[in-house]
């Protein structure tokens, strides 16, 4: 077990390095000079050169990468070009707001998916199975940003029950546990939860249907065990796989929240990315993506280790 964890940890290092290289490269694949957003077009050459030296842009790429990585490792992701504040100072509060939505969406998705998938798997091949599988396919095919708009049309425009955007009425971007904040969370969380709900439904359905076919279930039935306790056995066996899928889905929600956050003007990392892209604030774009990607790598690691801990049969 310990050996597996160490192995898995070591394997994460080259992946994290690769991720950092891609994030670093983002600055250089874009059109024009990274400085072009900072300087007017007719800036004198000596000013350009001085700035280049200041940002280290006159050095070879490899050196630039090492310098950048060294700083990034100590939490220094540079300065946002637009707000002139530190990138980390911008990313961290936004990250908290995004996490709140991602966790909410994961919880709703998990419960809906487990319920639908469990029923579909239990009634495998029967009409109930078809209905729940159909719902699952709808969930994964629905463009969630469109669903978000439809939800706003229904619950904020036609029926004025819920707020259509923002995190609260005052415009503050700091989350607090208040009724108002929860009311603002409802629609984005529902919109985020459809894709994980659909995927969890498929996973749970597959796992339950497969488990119910296995001999040990037959044996339990032959022994005269009640259906309720058999379901509990099946749930215990399906749990590791479902938890793993759910863990990754949370990562996707966190990384893919840009569309939903844009629709609802939710002040998270997605909205931050959106602003960074359209103001061509490359350090902010780079820093946000690096932080999100590293969280995703860590989440992957956590999911793998948790899965092996829960079900040692998986270890290869």
């Amino acid at each position: 077990m310990l050996l597996y964890v160490i192995n898995r940890l070591l394997y994460t290092i080259p992946i994290a390095v690769g991720v950092s290289i891609i994030c670093f490269a983002l600055v250089h694949i874009g059109p024009g000079d990274p400085l072009s957003t900072l300087l007017p077009e007719d800036a004198p050459q000596d000013v350009v050169d001085r700035l280049k030296a200041e940002y280290g842009l006159d050095k070879p790429l490899v050196i630039q990468y090492v310098l950048w990585l060294g700083k990034a490792l100590t939490g220094d992701f540079g300065i946002s070009i637009v707000t002139s504040r530190s990138v980390l100072g911008e990313v961290l509060p936004a990250l908290v707001n995004s996490l709140i939505l991602a966790i909410g969406g994961s919880i709703v998705g998990f419960f809906v998916g487990t319920l639908l998938g469990g029923l579909a798997g239990y009634f495998h091949g029967r009409p109930a199975d078809r209905i729940f599988t159909g719902i699952a396919i709808t969930g994964v095919s629905v463009p969630h940003y469109w669903l978000a708009i439809v939800l706003v049309i229904i619950f904020a425009v036609e029926l004025p029950w819920l707020p259509s955007l923002g995190m609260n009425m005052s415009g503050s971007t700091e989350f607090s546990f208040s009724i108002e904040n929860f009311r603002h969370m409802v629609l984005p969380v529902i919109a985020l939860s459809v894709i994980p709900a659909g995927i969890v439904t498929r996973t749970v359905r597959g796992a339950v249907a497969e488990l119910l076919n296995q001999e040990f279930v037959e044996a339990l039935r032959a022994k005269g065990m009640s259906e309720g306790r058999i379901v509990r056995h099946v749930a215990k066996n399906a749990a590791p796989q479902v938890l793993a899928v759910m863990g990754l889905q949370m990562g996707y929600l966190l990384g893919g929240s840009i569309l939903i956050e844009t629709v609802f003007a939710w002040p998270g990392t997605g909205l931050l990315l959106n602003n960074a892209i359209f103001s061509r604030d490359i350090p902010l774009l780079q820093g946000t993506i690096l932080v999100l990607a590293l969280i995703f790598v860590a989440l992957n690691l956590l999911v793998d280790v948790a899965q092996v801990t829960l079900d040692p049969r998986i270890k290869r």
Binding site: N7, R8, P14, I15, A16, G18, V19, I22, C23, L26, V27, I29, G30, P31, I137, T138, V140, S141, P143, Y145, W146, L147, I149, V150, V152, I153, V157, E158, I195, I199, R202, T203, G206, A244, L248, Y252, G255, G256, I258, L259, T262, V263, L273, N274, A276, I277, F278, I282, L285, I289, L292, A293, F296, V297, N300, D304, Q307, I314, K315, R316
Partner: protein
């Protein structure tokens, strides 16, 4: 080394595609027989075909000029005289714009999957067939791309490259390459170890011939089916990019961009504003069901 970091796909590639190995005479007629008895798959394929044809022959079908604006006829409701699906915020005919919009939307959804099929498929088959060090290098590179949530990577690359159809297609190709590569690698490794390939190796057949006849003939089916299931993801992400403003620029018609510009009008004309999303949804949904149907008709386990 475990790497169960599959993208948002319900794929379990661990099961061997033994049924693929037993490609017998009349295989395609069996597949066709199964498909004919599957109304859902046929229905979905028909809908996709209709949407595709409408997009291709848009100038012949569209009742109005999709770019002609009219300040007087802005946001006409769905079902108005002359404008079956109403008009948009600039008074342009919605139906015509939806038909024209299919051109860009379908292109940006399908082209990246084809590109990824070419790149990821080739890399995956090579990795599976050659094994060893080549396999390790290719698959570790894919692992790095896998380390990003796919939508994030697409947005990051599109965002850095700047908006435009070309850049959107490049970034989407990049995010669909790793999953296709992984599936191609898995199925190729399985086929490579089957007895008939080992037997072919014992004969004087050249490596190229083994690869072409024995490997490709047996792995292409599963890879293509997996790729077809990715189109439904691709249309959602591609339209999402253009919804964010990273795809085509106005006044070009595109479902994602239409959804974005009509968003301002949800208080006045909610139905019009929701329509472009319906097209994205129908297309994605039909591709999903069609690929599921093809998968069971071709008896492919992924």
């Amino acid at each position: 080394m475990t790497a169960p970091t599959m993208d948002a796909s319900p794929l379990n590639a661990a099961e061997a595609p033994q049924t693929v190995g037993t490609k017998r005479r009349g295989y395609w007629s069996t597949v066709w027989d199964r498909l004919r008895r599957d109304p859902v798959t046929i229905g979905c394929a028909t809908i996709i075909l209709v949407i595709l044809l409408a997009a291709i022959f848009a100038p012949l079908i569209a009742p109005h000029d999709p770019y002609k604006t009219s300040m007087l006829k802005r946001l006409a409701p769905v079902g108005s005289e002359n404008f079956l699906l109403g008009t948009d915020e600039l008074g342009r005919d919605m139906l015509s714009r939806l038909i024209y919009g299919g051109r860009v939307s379908l292109f940006t959804a399908i082209a990246p999957v084809l590109g990824a099929l070419l790149i990821g498929g080739t890399l995956g088959v090579l990795a599976g067939f050659l094994g060893g060090r080549v396999n390790m290098i290719i698959m570790r590179m894919m692992d790095v791309l896998y380390a990003f949530p796919s939508i994030l990577l697409a947005i990051a690359i599109s965002g850095a490259l700047g908006s435009g159809i070309g850049n959107a297609v490049i970034s989407l190709t990049l995010i669909f390459t790793p999953p296709i590569c992984r599936v191609a690698e898995t199925v190729t490794t399985q086929v490579r170890n089957l007895d008939f390939v080992q037997a072919a190796r014992a004969t004087p057949a050249s490596t190229g011939r083994i690869l072409r006849v024995h490997i490709l003939g047996n792995v292409l089916g599963p890879i293509l089916i997996y790729a077809s299931s990715l189109v439904s993801v691709s249309i959602i992400v591609a339209s999402g990019l253009s919804f964010l403003g990273l795809g085509v620029s106005p006044p070009e018609a595109d479902w994602g961009l239409m959804l974005n510009t009509l968003r301002q009008s949800i208080y006045v004309a909610p139905l019009n504003a929701a329509l472009p999303g319906v097209m994205i949804f129908i297309t994605g949904f039909c591709f999903n069901l069609m690929s599921d149907g093809l998968r069971s008709a071709m008896d492919v386990k992924l």
